[in-house]
């Protein structure tokens, strides 16, 4: 039987990927979409293994071991990760995907050089260009994603010492990046001129790694989701180039589709933050120049807040990254339950970029069994803020900072939740320190604002017990 018949299996896998990606974009069908994707992947792997020559048994040990080890590690990591760590995990997996494509490219080129099995003419051009591009995009995705992961965490621990991840990027760095890119293209040309020389390949790999780091280094923490999304798109493109290397259509289809869809998603995310992709990537922003906070504000205690909250009729809870860090979503829901038992209407105002990843808050609140209908998106909640008695801001800062409306500073133009329109604003926060964008928040100092200084979980627990004592 002609081996080409196996390609039908790849066709079915591709269709499953297309349907899966389509369904992932709608809330109701998303779980099915994910399942389709997984089934497509399983099918592609089974088809690939089924058409192998079972004569050489040695390689099957490696194949089995690789699938087993990788599957086990991936599964354990995915199951054990905390919901707060989800964005970092996505970034890490993304880096692995890019690295895998780059390694496939490297493996192919070293094998050919090693066995002196160098292609000629057209095949040489196709194979070597694809290998070069796959290496460029793949290695860049790896180092970029790893750096993005550390930035999402805020730092990295090496031998017990905590190092903050730096954000640094003078304007000239953009020219350096351009030069590196040109150098890589030049090297790519050299590899085709001298296909047997592996030094050029190694140089491409090294420069691509550096490019990935320079690419992410200037970008501030608040923009990190956009970058991770873009890197995700790149890892798809890397897979597509890998498809050209081994002449496999399913790689080309899935890879380029993910690449394109990832780009669209990146754009959607930029729009949610009212930012241009170009600005995000090439204009250093956020985290670098933090304003010094000179003003002070006297903190309130939970009993006071509980008294204010007694007998109100409408409360909007605005969560932020602080809620994720202190894991106080259960206490927040308990608080909401008490208010609701007293006849108060409670809603949650979700800023599109609250937390470190879109949808971060929804996931956390869902974990605490908050009904989905109560999570209101920014535009809808803003029209209701005027009639809100108490806005409870839990660990959010930039997303409620009125400075964004002023049109100046790093936050300019970012849409915010109008917490300041509520009659009373209660903010649970560890201190008056600035948020990710490094801008002081006027909302803290307003007379109607009550600050609960402390860890989110501790403060919310105290607030809940004060409410119960009333």
């Amino acid at each position: 039987m002609d081996n080409a018949i196996w390609d039908v299996g790849y066709l079915v896998a591709s269709i499953l990927f297309i349907l899966g990606l389509k369904k992932l974009g709608h809330p109701r069908t998303a779980p099915t979409g994910n399942l389709y994707g997984a089934m497509g992947m399983l099918l592609a792997i089974v088809v690939t293994i089924a058409q192998m020559d079972f004569g050489v048994i040695d390689n099957f040990i490696l194949i089995g071991a690789g699938l087993f080890v990788g599957g086990l590690i991936g599964y354990v990591m995915a199951v054990r990760v905390q919901m707060t760590g989800m964005p970092e995990m996505v970034a890490l997996f993304n880096g692995f995907g890019g690295a895998a494509s780059a390694l496939v490219a490297a493996s192919e080129v070293f094998r050919r050089i090693d066995q002196n099995d160098l292609p000629e003419d057209l095949e040489l051009y196709v194979a070597w260009i694809a290998i070069g591009l796959s290496a460029l995009v793949g290695w860049m995705t790896l180092t970029g994603s790893l750096l993005a992961m550390m930035k999402l965490k805020g730092g990295v621990e090496i031998f017990g010492t905590w190092y903050r991840t730096p954000t640094w990027g003078p304007e000239w760095l953009n020219y350096v990046k351009g030069l590196i890119l040109i150098a890589i293209v030049g090297l790519l040309y050299m590899t085709i001129k001298e296909p047997g020389n592996q030094d050029y390949v190694i140089a491409i790999i090294g420069l691509s790694c550096i490019l990935g780091i320079f690419f992410v280094l200037p970008i501030g923490g608040a923009d990190m989701p956009v970058v991770v999304s873009l890197l995700n798109s790149l890892s798809g493109i890397a897979a597509a180039f890998t498809g050209f290397i081994i002449g496999n259509n399913v790689l080309i289809i899935a890879g380029s589709m993910v690449g394109a869809a990832g780009l669209i998603l990146t754009n959607i995310m930029c729009k949610a933050m009212n930012r241009q992709l170009i600005d995000v990537l090439f204009k250093s922003f956020g985290g670098s120049d933090k304003e010094q906070v000179t003003r002070t504000k006297i903190g309130s205690d939970p009993e006071e807040v509980a008294m204010i909250c007694d007998g109100i009729s409408k409360c909007v809870i605005i969560p932020g990254y602080g809620m994720a860090v202190s894991q106080c979503q259960h206490q927040v829901r308990e608080f909401a339950d008490i208010l609701e038992a007293n006849g108060c209407e409670v809603k949650y105002g979700i800023h599109p970029v609250a937390g470190r990843m879109p949808g971060h808050m929804n996931v956390l609140l869902a974990e605490a069994s908050v009904p989905y209908e109560k999570l209101i998106e920014m535009d809808d909640i803003n029209s209701e803020m005027g009639e809100c008695d108490v806005a409870l801001v839990v660990g959010a800062n930039d997303t409620v900072n009125p400075a964004a409306r002023s049109g100046e500073g790093p936050l300019a133009g970012m849409p915010i939740i109008n917490a300041d329109k509520a009659r009373v604003v209660v903010m649970v926060k560890r201190s008056l320190s600035v948020g990710y964008a490094g801008v002081d928040n006027d909302l803290f100092y307003e007379d109607k604002t009550m600050m609960l200084f402390g860890d989110g979980k501790k403060m919310m627990t105290e607030l809940v017990s004060s409410m119960k004592e009333l």
Partner: protein
């Protein structure tokens, strides 16, 4: 690779890119992270590439392959990407969609 195969591959490449652009239109913010994670798992398709290379690359020759070990590393990383990616997406979606179904 012959010219006709190359043209066919480029055709597929171009069409798939357009398909990808059309596939995602309006996505609610809740689904941004799961969608990213799910798409990322699909880009782990490179696992197929790793499998094919690993099978083609003898690692027990006289000059055993550095290349084979690279392919092996690629296989492990791609599998982590695939299995981890789909599992983590599933966990996120369960939390978002599952709780809503209960109500």
């Amino acid at each position: 690779m012959e010219l006709v195969t190359l043209i066919a591959a480029i055709t597929i490449f171009a069409l798939a890119i357009f398909l990808g652009f059309e596939l995602i239109t309006k996505v609610p913010p809740t689904l941004h992270t799961p969608l990213m994670s799910g798409a990322n798992a699909i880009s782990g398709i490179t696992v197929v590439g790793a499998l094919i290379l690993l099978q083609n690359t003898p690692y027990n020759n006289a000059n055993p392959g550095f290349a084979a070990w690279l392919a092996f590393a690629a296989l492990v990383l791609a599998t982590i990407n695939v299995v981890g990616g789909f599992t983590v997406t599933n966990r996120m979606l369960k939390m978002i969609a599952g709780k809503r179904g209960r109500k």
